[in-house]
Amino acid sequence: MKKITLLFCSCALAVIAAGCKMDVPDVIDASGDENLAGEVVTVGDATSPYSKLFVLNEGKWGENNATLDFFRFSNGKYVRDAFSQQNPTIPMGLGDTGNCLAFYYNTGWALMNGSNLVEIFNPKDEKHIQTLSIPSPRMIMFDYELGYAYITSYGDAKYDSANPEAGKKEGTLYKIGQVGDKIDIIDEVKVGYQPEGVAICGDKIFVANSGGYVAGYDNRVTVLNRETMDYVTDIEVAPNLKYVISDGVSNLWVSTSGDYWSIHSGLYRIDPLSLSVTAPSGDVADIRCAAIGYDPNDRNIYVIGTDDEWSWDGSKQHYNLYKMSINGSSVTKIPFSVNPDAENMKMPSGIMRNAVTRDLYITDAGDYLSPGSVYSFNYDLTKTNWHAEAGVGASHPAIYIEY
């Protein structure tokens, strides 16, 4: 097992530890996916510590066309729609509207928002292991120390929209763990309305709530006790919260997508002890967030955003890559215009960093209706290493390390 601590997902924070309470299937026979048809997009690197770069393509809502692609580092081959090919007998394939992809040792977890389930698969051969029935799952985070997964869900929102003052706007956080010989839900707790990102920092769990559907934006981060899941408090931050990024110890950030007309997207800092909020200032205030990733190896948050995010006239958008240290002390801004391939992207939707080569993998979701693509750039975007056509709504890149 390679001692590389890289778990960097737009929707998961990795806290690396030795303990592991959820049984990881010990798959020795990982045959099958070598023969899948694919496209050689670059020269393979057999010495790479990584096994594959996976891309979860969201698909179009209601069309059940989410797909799982992978790039294999050893042979430089990009394989599309691997899950359906490796599981031809599963009715309706991977499902509808993939919203998040992350790995827990030798298990891959794909959150299928429109299918109301979580697909747990073997990333060695993309074969189905089991599913979890969770209504409208959004994002996942693993507690590697205690061996649990946490999944936010829009579900179970019984808010009475006809009587907005009466009900509390709610969503759910599910706690997942080993139950018998299966992985199952072991606890659930009410959080804010339309919860998105979730992260652990110290002895607390932080959930960002977005709201926005019917009843106006939520602006709260729900704070829970990490051991008991008990509600601690709500912190009011900014409307339409999205990602929570933490180094697990002392640094905690929450992003807002803004309200699209009066409040910009950006990053807010939360003190995990005092729970006080610091509004963005200085260079941090310039950061606009469309996609976010965190690499615990170099302790940087990678953010993609555009300065002109309130332009609705269909004119060409000029994106930037912001690299911010987890303590907020330094911000570097690289415009996509340094590389025509990057500049031509329509909708950069996900970012993942390779800690060994320092390369950046950026997905382009395009118009979310036709096939998107995935690009590999060097660390400052100036060079394109390779690119491949992906599926519809290409959005969630995640690196898998074989254990």
């Binding site: 059940n64 031809p88 599963i90 309706m92 999205k242 997207s265 469309a290 332009s311």
Partner: protein, 691 residues
Amino acid sequence: MRFPPFISSFLGLFYAVSVLAQAPRSEPDSLSGETLDASVVLSGISSRGAFSGDSAGEAFIRSAPSIADVVRQFSGLQLKDYGGVGGMKTVNVRSLGSEHTGVFIDGIPVENAQNMQVDLGRFSTSSFSSVELRNGLSSSSYPSAREIGNSSSLYFVQKAPTFSEGKNSSFRIGVRGGSFGTFSPSFSWDAKVGKNTVSSFEAELLSSNGHYRFHESRFRTLPDGKVVGYDTTMIRRNGDILSMRVQEHLHGDNCVDRWNVTLYMYSSDRGLPGPVVRRPSDSVTSKDRQSDGNIFLQGDWTRDRGELYSFDLRAKYALDLTRYRTNPWAEAAALPLDNHYTQNSLFLSMSNLFRLGERFSLSQATDFQVNHLDADVLYFVYPTRWSLWNAVRGAYASPSLDMSASLQHMVAFDRFSDDARKGGFKKVNSSRSTFSPALDFSVRPFGGSPSFVIDGFAKRSVRLPSFNDLYYSVVGNTQLRPEKASQYDAAITWRKLPSGHWTGEARIEGYFNRLVDKIVALPTANQFRWTMYNIGKVDVNGAEVKTSLAYDRDMFREGEIGNGFSLLLKYTFQRAIDRSEKGKSTYGGQIPYIPVHSGTLSLDVFIRGWRLDVSVLGNSRRWSSSANREDFEIDPYVTADASLSKSFTFQRGTQLRLQLNIGNILGEQYEVVKGYPMPGTNAILKTEYCF
């Protein structure tokens, strides 16, 4: 329509009129049993000339299980069907999008400013004597200004009751039921209420649980040649509907004046089953529901003394209520939602016709309309639209040539509440103004004989952005321009004139359409926020071939029950190419949901009061994206439907009619819209008693 003979001959030169006068307006005696349905045999071809489009007459409409089943057989028309009794059914003509097709009842538009789509599921087969699709010129001699600028129009003509001698009223009670738990009783009462006025009252209840079985399957071949896959059977749920329709229609005609007044009331509550996607076995399907209430009152009055000047006045008021709600108590994944939409619209139109000598005529029309949409959704802007259309049309008609040229001007002014920048846009009240010219011709080169006709048209038309496109919370874009369509069409028709027992015809038509500024939803700079843009461009190269053959043993024999058959074959080729953005994988691809090849074959046989209709409809593969990759492909399909009916006439003129409709006889599993499977074989039995 009974024009005085002098006017008839006058107008006969004006081919649009002759179509109206002879094909759809034929009034079969409802008590004399089945008659040869001229407009089925002669679809797209009138006795004088020919037109681009298609039509269906009363007998054919009555044999069909629904209006959607009538129009889906029209050439060049794609029915977008979400499946089941309650599933929405809209039409898309020649790949221009359903918003471009105007739907008219007795010449008055059915309005939906909210999304510009008219659900044909609301209409009943028992109300209409003809349905006609027109791509080129309007079929009316008094077209409203709106009609003149439409890219294509679907005309519904309501029945005007007729009575056998000595009777002043007649009643019909009917019930139909069968598959999908369908139960639908209906009642109608026709009466003479004045010297020249008839009244027709109709009420219908429809209830259906909407359940049907379908299966999803996919097989793939492994590298070692083994075929693996799945084939799973499911039941469509939450597709139930309960609806009620009540309407009163007054029709008057005294040879100079003709008037229609209709009051229509419809109310329904239905489940929206949503797309079929992968779900865990313990998960419920969608529990979303929609309730509708639609009321309209419309009237038109035509005065025609056969002199230099005649006119048509039309007016309509419509109230449309929609409630859409989710049920998070029954479906954990649903977000709470309960929205109410109220649309009010008022339409006024005057159209004037000047006959300038034997060969020339000039018409002028002005339409005015107000639409208002009220809703209880967040950040709503309560839009009101005032629209004014003005059109002129000049026509020339001689035995061997008909020509007309028209120009329509439209100005639409939108006003909405602009407090703050709700939803993100800078709100500016806006107006949109467009010109739509059209030119068409019809040539009968062989001494004016309608046995060989060359016809064609060129036309530019627009469709306004809908209220949803412009103002839907957080998604709408108030800066949108109208979509613009250009159409060029030419056709050759050969026809064997009705002599003896046989009639036959063939028509070959080619067209080119270009759609620019197509309104498309796309994500903005922020991927969580979508909006509408005018970026789409579509080129359509199309061809249609229609042939028909009919035999009637009793043709021209007065009072006889028809004995014969008709055979109709239609083929449509449509290459609808996405030309939106060069360099994208969608560029050059066939646009979503349009088959390159489609066609229908229908056979009607009628013998001694029995009538059998069999129709076969085929569509080649389609794609759900303009990127024509295999993973977006929707399978080709062939469906066959049959209807068998028999009328029994008793003493004192009472009549019993039995009809059996069997849908999808081949049990084809297919989808028109991705994720919305269509039902397999189904049967509906209908009984009607007239007295």
